[in-house]
Subunit: 202 residues, 4 copies
DNA sequence: AATGAATGAGGTTTCATTCAT
DNA sequence: GATGAATGAAACCTCATTCAT
């Protein structure tokens, strides 16, 4: 007798996530190109062929890590910033959550910072997809801040978005590449201060 | 009778650069992993085996693009900023040259932004190598600015360096991925303004 | 439902032997170094990659021919000589079987005499492995014969072993190289006579 | 002004031998197939291309080692056995010289026993060439011995030749593969005794 | 749905040989 | 005669994916 659709869906979803998690760990450890599908299957405790019942292939697996993680993250951050009034504090919160997410999961950070950035096509798609959503979230906060007078009017919101995202991203990148020992989260406030007040003394 | 060492060196160096240029163009067009050594050889007008007289292999070719370009760039920027007094103007010049270099050579930009960032090992090495030199150049300007009172004292020079490099890098990245039509150089001054004055109105 | 272990093992073993046989024939025809793995795969009616599910590579394929054939041969000869009383007759039987095996399978003879003897490392390993077992079998017969008074005491069993094996081996070698037309087996008795009685008339 | 033909020839011959010696050592150390022509050139202190002024290629180099060494050896042994009366002593002398030659030059032994035996074509040619000459020399001694009553009449001279050569060859082979420490020459008399008197006590 | 044995395309690299100097 | 930089053919092996069970 078939299980109820809900249970089946949930069971299917759980196996999907088990595979995704396995892929994150394998990709982080050996790198995307050096990882073999069979490694992912082994770590997920499923047969090689089973991967293809849940994903379209290796590339889709990488893409799905990105989408899955970013979807959850964006949803959560969106919920959290909604209840904050001050756009400056919204931005601070977003940056803090960004650094917490990756600072707390080095394997994920490795995959998102390094492994995923290997093909123009992939990155282009990402930018128009989930990453685009994230950039829009940042941009929305900045534009809201501009209309409320909390951020300067005389700047391009797009450029400011790039500066914010680029700074955070670079912070994570250098943490992944060198000093995973320090706490990434502790950089949130100093970076925020730099972003809001600039390099030049007032 | 052998040619003079100078002539030989120069001839050898010219062929090396011919191959490097061919590699940049091939890698930019088809992506590093999809590019075949034979494509590079064809474009450089040499035999396949000749590549291996000048480089240790495909990976070394990629690495050498990075080193070669960055070496020339760092030398040039170092010379130019030396004759500028104001650290703020030094930073502006560096950012402008960075954006000019890549804005003027989309193939090179593609390779440096995307293709080269495919392996943890590679990036880690790069950071301690030529890229580290570049980051030190930026950091030097910022520290000089701090001691001259042109940049705030109450910030970490390292963090500021990451913000500066991250912002520029993100700018180039988004240009490579989306809107190669606009002039990258035109973003230098607005970005500089953001970096110096911050997001919040004074 | 998986097949019983026996059936699977046997099916796997059969495919292994099919590949080994294909390798013997291909190696015999074109020589080990000129043979391509794809030739072996074609003759075995499997895909190229399948070879690597059963063997570690080309070298392992060659080694495995040696081990497989010698294992079967030694087992068989050991069983047969066991039921013979006279050590002289034991030796005669061993020599006859040796010549029959290779005389009846020119491709195998070609591989064992020629193709397999291409690397010091390989031969050294072989000597300590299966070939060593075979030499020990010969030596055992000679030592038994000495203790029974059927072979002279005043000779080194090791040297005698080398003389016996060397003579047979040379016989096969010259047959492989020149006159595959004659019946190799017919040389067993004359050689045996020479070995037992020596060159000098009594 | 050109040198006299004799001097030139001799100079050319000396360089040829220098290359042959280099090849023997390189082939012995790394194996024929793993040796590169450039290694031989380096060891002989000549340019890569120069090898081809003296030899037709890699295979010819191997063949030439064989021919050169065997030519000298056969000449010498022929001269020496000529002045010996007793065919039994002639054979003993030949065996002793054979073992001395290789026992005194492990690199040469390695090449002649192992590296040279890699292709049917090569060995077939060898057998009809210089090796054939050597086998004929042995056969001549045996036939002479038969006609003088020193060797049994009721044996095939061909078969006896194979037994003699095979025994010696196997002796050298096992020395090359395992116990280069012992003195190969010391095996000459015991082997001779076995060959003449046989395995069975009189 | 799950399995895992089989597939087979595809590319980097080596190295014997050549030939312009 | 000697050089050695350049050539380019050739093949082992990997591994993402499929599909019969």
């Amino acid at each position: 007798m078939p299980q109820s659709s809900d249970v089946r869906t949930s069971s299917r979803e759980m196996k999907r996530e088990k595979i995704l998690r396995a892929a994150i760990e394998v990709f982080a450890k050996r790198g995307y190109f050096s990882s073999r599908m069979t490694d992912v299957a082994h770590r997920a405790n499923v047969a090689d062929g089973t991967l293809y019942l849940y994903f379209d292939g290796k590339e889709d697996l990488l893409q799905s890590i990105f989408d899955h993680v970013l979807t959850l993250f964006i949803e959560r951050v969106q919920d959290e910033v909604e209840v904050v009034e001050d756009p400056v504090e919204k931005l601070r919160l977003l940056i803090r959550r960004h650094l917490e997410l990756l600072g707390g999961d080095p394997a994920l950070a490795q995959v998102l910072q390094i492994e995923i950035r290997h093909s123009r096509r992939f990155l282009a798609l990402a930018t128009r997809g989930k990453l685009g959503e994230y950039l829009n979230l940042i941009r929305g906060i900045i534009e809201e801040g501009q209309s409320l007078g909390r951020f300067r009017h005389d700047i391009s919101a797009g450029l400011a978005t790039q500066m914010v995202f680029g700074s955070v991203d670079e912070l994570v990148m250098s943490w992944v590449l060198q000093d995973s020992a320090v706490e990434l989260e502790s950089k949130a406030d100093p970076l925020m201060a730099l972003l809001t007040d600039g390099l030049v003394p007032r």
